[in-house]
Amino acid sequence: MVVGWLGLRRRRESAPTNIAATISQRRLNFANGGKGKSKPKVLQSLSLTHGMAHNPSQLLPSELIDRCIGSKIWVIMKGDKELVGTLKGFDVYVNMEQWSFSEWYRGSLASLRDDYVCVERVKFSHSFMEVDAEITAEGRRITKLDQILLNGNNIAILVPGGSPDPE
């Protein structure tokens, strides 16, 4: 139910400083945020990835994104929209109740109709991403957004650290 939401909220408050702290903090929060419910799905999925026995040295997508929390990320959508912002968090599965989000989600994404979006802080999941607005780039229509939750359905590419370079 609201379990996932609580988890995300807490992570946001924790303003992490370094990456290692971010990751452990994130796991901690998920562990605490579970409110006695069954094991949080993110933890399950992270341990699931250890099952990729045949090539342990390879770089897992979820790990890469996990390491990106707290730093800049460039999100390229399936269409022609792109977002830049700071990743605040993500989940691997849709482990939150969608209805409890949907109102806010619709409200804050209304300005996403523009071609190009620059954001300052992003909270992101396979299902949702939350962003804080700022900055600009050139040549394209840019919408500054405050924090948003982004639905992961339409994400095509994630570029850690990268921001679009207008040549």
Binding site: G51, Q58, K78, G79, N153, A156, I157, V159
Partner: protein, 99 residues
């Protein structure tokens, strides 16, 4: 533990090799496959996106842009093919003058 984890596409043989990835929505990317998971999320290094014609988004142009290290979302991946040994040829079934 047995059959469930088996994937139809064994990407292990593409690791550290160049791959071309087509995504839903028409984006097209090449890069070196660095990692993947069961959901077909891919990690590509030194990725290059082929930009599309502004007038005709179905056409890819020669223009590219460097993306660097990226994650392709599995839900958006339509096609993964190795760049080695793959070449694009003209459509052999195309009628010469649209007859």
């Amino acid at each position: 533990m047995s059959g469930r984890k088996e994937t139809v596409l064994d990407l292990a043989k593409f690791v550290d090799k160049g791959v071309q990835v087509k995504l839903t929505g028409g984006r097209q990317v090449t890069g070196t496959l660095k990692g993947y998971d069961q959901l077909l999320n891919l990690v590509l290094d030194e990725a290059v996106e082929f930009l599309r014609d502004a007038d005709d988004p179905l056409k890819t142009t020669d223009q590219t842009r460097q993306l660097g290290l990226i994650v392709c979302r599995g839900t958006a991946v339509m096609l993964v093919s190795p760049t080695d040994g793959t070449d694009e040829i003209a459509n052999p079934f195309m009628q010469p003058d649209g007859a």
